[in-house]
């Protein structure tokens, strides 16, 4: 059960998000771009397309292709990452495609591709969630037709305590009792789930609570995304 009085290492309440910032238009060359941050985790995303897909044999005459690429800058973490793709970044890229895919009206672009590039500038856990949030905004900024905007958040469990928006300590240092569980979830704005991952250990009961916590947080994140997109129009 979530102890409502629980205070986290960074002083947050159990169901409190880190301060969020969002900005649209951070990469002038791109057709759409955005920055999204949860506290110290900063992601930027740029959209190029729709454009012709090369090589031609990868083209789909029935619908367009959404291609996501997630990457962390070598100095975004304390222990330098070797530049270039890794198994982890390859998986997250695909997960991001799946998280965004259901809302992007890709059928309108047969034979075309929309490229979404995500870079993590500074990392303090929940990077894939920040990346997905930035990507959703960048797609909207690029004027790609979408059924809704997706919003992503991570819920964690420290021993038996549920927490919202996992930070670095909670993700990689905490190791007591049942250990740490990390559950990133992405919702559409009508609260369908397009992405769900879980690593750790949790009961059925508590997992339902997790979904409810994430659902509530989704609204807050969505408002931040929407506000930044509206500001870009002014």
């Amino acid at each position: 059960m979530a102890n409502k009085e629980f205070v986290r290492d960074d002083g947050r309440k159990f169901d409190e998000l880190r301060p969020m910032t969002a900005k649209v238009g951070v990469v002038p060359n791109a057709d759409g771009s955005a920055m999204f941050s949860f506290g110290k985790t900063i992601a930027i995303a740029a959209v190029y397309g729709p454009k012709e897909l090369h090589p031609r044999n990868q083209r789909d005459p029935a619908k367009g292709t959404l291609r996501c690429n997630y990457n962390m800058l070598s100095f975004s973490v304390e222990d330098r990452i070797r530049p270039g793709p890794s198994r982890r970044s390859t998986e997250i890229s695909k997960i991001t495609e799946w998280a965004l895919g259901p809302v992007v009206m890709i059928d309108e672009y047969p034979n075309m591709v929309i490229d979404v590039h995500i870079q993590i500038i500074q990392a303090s856990a929940s990077t894939r969630c920040a990346g997905i949030n930035a990507a959703a905004m960048a797609l909207a900024h690029a004027g790609i037709p979408m059924k809704s905007i997706v919003s992503s958040v991570s819920v964690g469990k420290l021993d038996k305590q549920l927490i919202l928006d996992v930070n670095k300590y909670e993700d990689s240092v905490f190791d007591e009792g049942e250990g740490a569980t990390d559950i990133p979830i992405t919702f559409t704005s009508d609260e369908k789930i397009t992405h769900f991952q879980l690593d750790g250990k949790i009961s059925n009961e508590q997992l339902k609570e997790v979904i409810e916590m994430a659902r509530k947080a989704r609204k807050e994140i969505y408002e931040v995304q929407k506000k930044a997109l509206k500001e870009a129009l002014n």
Partner: protein, 265 residues
């Protein structure tokens, strides 16, 4: 998506009269914005904007073995990535020539000017030395990444702190820093890239100007000395022009140094 010939011809015509599309003079830089400390987990970092061009440079350090030919010196490693995020011209995949050149030219600007006192980065001679990683990423390419990267590398190095090192365990305590800076020489090298278009040299070209330039010359220099040079593009350059470029680079050094001085002091 190269610059169309029609646009190119018009640009050249303008330049004959000393005018550029964006209204700048030929020896005028775009607005330069330098921010340091932009990535909290890096030992040092900088964001450099030249007009719409933006690069991020981060410094990380690690402990490793010295190279066989420099047992009494720390190591320097400079890499650059031209992110597909930064331009429709770049693609995912192994680094292509422009990214390799960007890393290598920036490496030489730092290394050949002896900007980092690598001999002071030795923990145990012949066994353990610090490696300084300088990683450069393009965020938006609107020309002159070479100078933006050079300036970014200098700014990031000047503001970097050496991480703590546990000698007993032989481990770097990442995320904990000493108060020590990376030992640097007093003279700051700067990358000055000149592009010859028609009969003129221009500084700080936009992407369009880079596209139509006949020759490119990158000069890594301090106030008094040149320590690295690279000529790019396949067109030749006359001796007379080379002399001009050398003199111009001295003038531009003073100009650029004034702008970065405030930020990195």
């Amino acid at each position: 998506m190269e610059t169309p010939e029609l646009t190119g011809n018009r640009m050249k015509k303008y330049l004959e009269g000393g005018k550029r599309f964006d209204g700048r003079g030929v020896e005028e830089y775009r607005e330069m914005i330098i921010e340091t400390g932009v990535s909290a987990n890096a030992e040092g970092s900088a964001r450099v904007k030249l007009g719409k061009t933006e690069v991020l440079v981060g410094i990380k350090m690690g402990v490793g073995e010295p190279y066989p030919d420099s047992q009494d010196k720390g190591n320097l490693m400079v890499t650059a990535e031209l992110l597909p995020l930064s331009s429709s011209r770049y693609e995912n995949g192994p680094p292509k020539f422009p990214a390799i050149e960007l890393g290598r030219v920036t490496d030489r600007i730092i290394r050949e000017s002896k900007f980092i006192e690598l001999n002071k980065l030795v923990i145990k001679e012949g066994e353990k030395v610090w490696t300084v990683f300088v990683d450069i990423y393009s965020i938006n390419d609107d020309g002159n990444l070479l100078d933006a990267a050079g300036i970014g590398a200098i700014a990031a190095l000047k503001t970097a702190k050496i991480p703590k090192y546990d000698e007993k365990e032989g481990k770097v305590l990442f995320g904990e820093w000493t108060t020590k800076n990376i030992p640097l020489s007093k003279e700051t090298p700067i990358s000055i890239t000149l592009h010859k278009i028609g009969n003129r040299f221009v500084v700080d070209p936009t992407l369009e100007e880079e596209d139509i330039a006949e020759t490119r010359l990158t000069i890594g220099r301090t106030k008094d000395n040149i320590s690295s040079m690279q000529k790019g593009n396949p067109q030749p350059i006359s001796i007379e022009d080379l002399h001009k470029a050398i003199d111009l680079s001295e003038k531009m050094y003073t100009e650029v140094f004034k702008r970065i001085e405030k930020v990195v002091k």
